[in-house]
């Protein structure tokens, strides 16, 4: 899991990128707390072979579940 809550662009994408590079996971959950990060991580994941399911948690937090295509 990548916890990028409280971080603003581009850090959530970098953390996601590093995790994918390091462990090449089949699924990965990314937590963020702003819509810019939701958009940026989703775009990055889609461009790198992952489908993304976005779920809004409480308190303006989002869970993004990345699944390898």
């Amino acid at each position: 899991m990548v916890d990028a809550r409280g971080l603003s662009c581009p850090l959530p994408v970098i953390k996601t990128q590093n995790e994918i590079k390091k462990n090449n996971p089949d699924t990965l959950e990314v937590l963020v707390d702003n819509t810019t990060a939701v958009g940026n991580v989703t775009r990055f994941a889609n461009n790198n072979g992952y489908d993304v399911a976005v779920k809004e948690l409480e308190d303006d937090e989002y869970s993004l579940v990345l699944t390898k295509r």
Partner: protein, 355 residues
């Protein structure tokens, strides 16, 4: 197919780029200084002057464009439910980085936005600045890739997020009803300005569009290098194209190094000044325009950064580090080196270990 997709995804940010370029040309046509239709660094410096934070008589004016950008971003964020007050990510480091970025920008004489506007006016010194700017971003990207972080921010109450936009608007209203409290240039760049309502209106539109599209001058190069995403970089190009076309139509396109408006030809300091800006802004997560927009979205860390930039402008003119058309200020070169060293220290001391 892929091309179509690119435009579909990035049309808003590219349109914003074109409009900002056009806005710069229009504002210049209506009185703003040449090749300075829209410069965040210069305008914050003028505001610092209007508040009498520095005594440089030619650069004092409470620029309505800045007020418009922050207010426009704030309104758009409120409408789009993206107004999210937050703060707490190394505020004082952000303040100091903001000041360093401003000192670097005033050595070059412009923020990244004015840099591309100068390129669009034919000022080749700005190409030198661009080289330094890209170099600075690449250094910043290196540290970002090695887990540089200023730490996380936390959710705040609405007042924390709204205070900066409200204070800025309040200050602007005061200039209209109690102008004698402020300093206003009688000559020089600060005395040259477009009509207040036009400047404010254009600022509002640009702020709103920049909020929605997340336009950022630093993000363009950064995202292209780090993630192979070219949307923001395309917007960067759109600004140059719009300004080039605008200047060509007005007959104000003038290629060369010498005699460019409010610019100097000391290439090393043009380059290194923009290296400070590129590197500092990469660490801050956005260019000066983006900081204004984020401040409008309720990000108090960005509001602190903007205050740091205003303080940096005051320092630059008080300590004679700011350049003029005659060349670098007496202490400009040494200040540039100090800023680079400072940013290096911040970079290395904030590399987080991977868990």
């Amino acid at each position: 197919m892929k091309k179509e997709n690119f435009f579909k995804k990035n049309w808003l940010v590219m349109l914003t780029g074109l409009l900002i370029g056009a806005a710069a040309v229009v504002l210049t046509a209506f009185g703003n200084p040449k090749n300075m239709g829209f410069c965040i660094a210069c305008f914050l410096r003028d505001i610092a002057g209007a508040l009498k934070l520095h005594g440089a008589a030619p650069v004092q004016y409470f620029r309505p464009e800045i007020v418009g950008i922050v207010a426009g971003a704030c309104i758009m964020a409120l409408i789009g439910k993206e107004f999210k007050p937050k703060a707490g990510s190394s505020p004082f480091i952000r303040f100091a980085l903001g000041a360093a970025v401003m000192i670097g920008a005033l050595v070059f004489l412009g923020c990244p936005l004015r840099m591309v506007i100068r390129i669009g006016g034919g000022d080749l010194n700005a190409i030198v600045g661009l080289v330094g700017f890209v170099l600075g971003i690449l250094i910043g990207v290196f540290f970002l890739k090695h887990n540089f972080s200023l730490g996380r921010a936390y959710k705040q109450g609405p007042v924390e997020g709204l205070l900066f936009p409200i204070l800025l608007i309040g200050g602007f209203v005061l200039t209209l009803i109690a102008g004698s409290l402020f300093a206003f240039s009688e000559e020089g760049p600060g005395s040259m300005h477009a009509p207040i309502l036009l400047a404010l209106g254009i600022g509002l539109v640009v702020g709103a569009l920049a909020q929605k599209s997340r336009l950022c001058m630093v993000g363009g190069v950064r995202d292209a290098v780090m993630f192979k995403e070219f949307g923001l970089l395309a917007a960067f190009g759109c600004i140059i194209v719009a300004v080039l076309v605008g200047n060509a139509i007005r007959g104000t396109l003038n290629w060369g190094f010498e005699g460019q408006p409010i610019a100097h030809t000391e290439w090393l300091w043009n380059l290194l000044g923009m290296t400070v800006v590129g590197w500092g802004c990469a660490l801050l997560g956005g260019c000066p325009l983006r900081q204004l927009v984020l401040a409008g979205e309720g990000n108090a860390d960005s509001a602190i950064t903007v205050l740091g930039m205003i303080a940096g402008a005051a320092a630059a003119h008080t300590l004679k580090t700011a350049s003029s058309a005659d060349g670098t200020g007496a202490n400009g070169p040494i200040a540039t080196i100090v800023c680079l060293l400072f940013i290096l220290v911040i970079s290395v001391t904030h590399l987080k270990k991977e868990q």
